[in-house]
């Protein structure tokens, strides 16, 4: 059981890492892309925009966390 938990933890750390928001945001962006493409519209712009927005959002969260820690 301990080995299974350690294995699952390894994969969680490996894939999700420090910010779970990135993983959740990417799944949402792919779903939105598939939805728009399925309706017959151009959807190529969704993923690059979402990736930059997610990166910016994640960096902003890290920055806020760092300044909170510095204040304490």
């Amino acid at each position: 059981m301990r080995w299974v938990m350690a294995f699952l933890r390894f994969w969680y750390d490996f894939v999700v890492g420090d910010d779970w928001l990135i993983a959740v945001g990417i799944v949402a962006a792919i779903a939105l892309t598939a939805l728009i493409a399925d309706q017959g519209f151009d959807a190529w712009w969704v993923m690059p925009l979402a990736v930059i927005a997610l990166l910016a959002g994640s960096l902003w969260r890290a920055l806020r966390k760092a300044s909170d820690e510095a204040r304490q």
């Binding site: 894939v15 892309t33 598939a34 190529w44 990736v51 930059i52 890290a62 920055l63 300044s67």
Partner: protein, 261 residues
């Protein structure tokens, strides 16, 4: 079309080579620290056992992946690479802008060496289980990351496994050759710069493949990969500059407050 194929193959080789190289340097740091401190026999036995287990895992899982339809595979692999790549890129941007300490292989080597020195000796037994376990764990965990990169990258393109495995093999030969020659941590490898570049490449591939898997037709076909890479590189470099500026302002603020009081 030929140019597009060549671009994809070159990107694939470069990304697999750099990503595997970074993981291998980390594994080598652990093996060298334990080997230098506690002896080589058990350390190399541990590293060898981990390499054998990894080879078995890759041989078992590799062929299974080719059974999955290519469209679904691109979607899943693209999403995984994108998540993985963005995590690397985020960490590299935070390190480059000073919000996170730089990863230092020399410091990691010293820490591993101190821990290995403190651990109780196995005495006169044939195998020093401390050295075996630490080397096994280091090689297995870092190797699993290399295996993930090779299998997922390779599965998304015909002949991809061969290209990614060749790149990982080339990285292995270079890292081991340098490690055996210097017998010291590879502290001169600019690890953060490598992680920055690999993060950009992984995120670009991930965006391209997950988009294709979700039903997107990229303008310019394969050439769109270069466009995505350029866009992400510009955004990341701008983020580094902006964060450095924020950090400088935050440092100056208390000094100005003190001068004004």
């Amino acid at each position: 079309m030929m140019w597009g194929e060549m671009t994809r193959s070159a990107f694939l080789f470069l990304t697999a080579f750099l990503a595997s190289g970074v993981e291998m340097v980390e594994a080598l740091t652990i093996v060298l620290a334990v080997g230098v401190t506690r002896g080589w026999r058990s350390t190399l036995l541990g590293a060898g056992a981990a390499a054998l287990l990894l080879a078995g895992l890759i041989a078992g899982l590799g062929p299974l992946i080719s059974e999955v339809p290519i469209g679904s595979l691109r979607l899943v692999v693209g999403a995984l690479l994108l998540v993985f790549g963005l995590q690397w890129l985020r960490k590299a941007i935070l390190r480059a802008s000073g919000y996170k300490p730089l990863h230092d292989e020399a410091a990691a080597f010293e820490q591993e060496r101190a821990e290995a020195g403190r651990a109780a000796s196995g005495g006169s037994v044939a195998v020093d289980w401390y050295s075996f376990t630490v080397a096994f764990k280091g090689v297995f965990l870092e190797g699993l990351e290399v295996a993930f990169i090779v299998i997922t990258f390779g599965a998304s393109k015909s002949n991809g496994v061969t290209i990614a495995a060749a790149a990982a093999g080339a990285a292995f030969v270079i890292v081991i050759a340098v490690g055996a020659t210097v017998r010291a941590p590879l502290s001169r490898v600019p690890e953060n710069t490598l992680k920055f570049v690999v993060g950009l490449l992984l995120a670009s591939f991930g965006t391209f493949w997950s988009g294709e898997g979700a039903g997107v037709s990229w303008p310019g076909s394969d050439a769109a990969l270069l466009g995505i890479l350029a866009l992400l590189a510009i955004a990341s470099l701008a983020a580094v500059r902006l964060l450095r500026h924020e950090r400088d302002l935050a440092r100056l603020a208390p000094a100005q407050k003190g001068a004004g009081a």
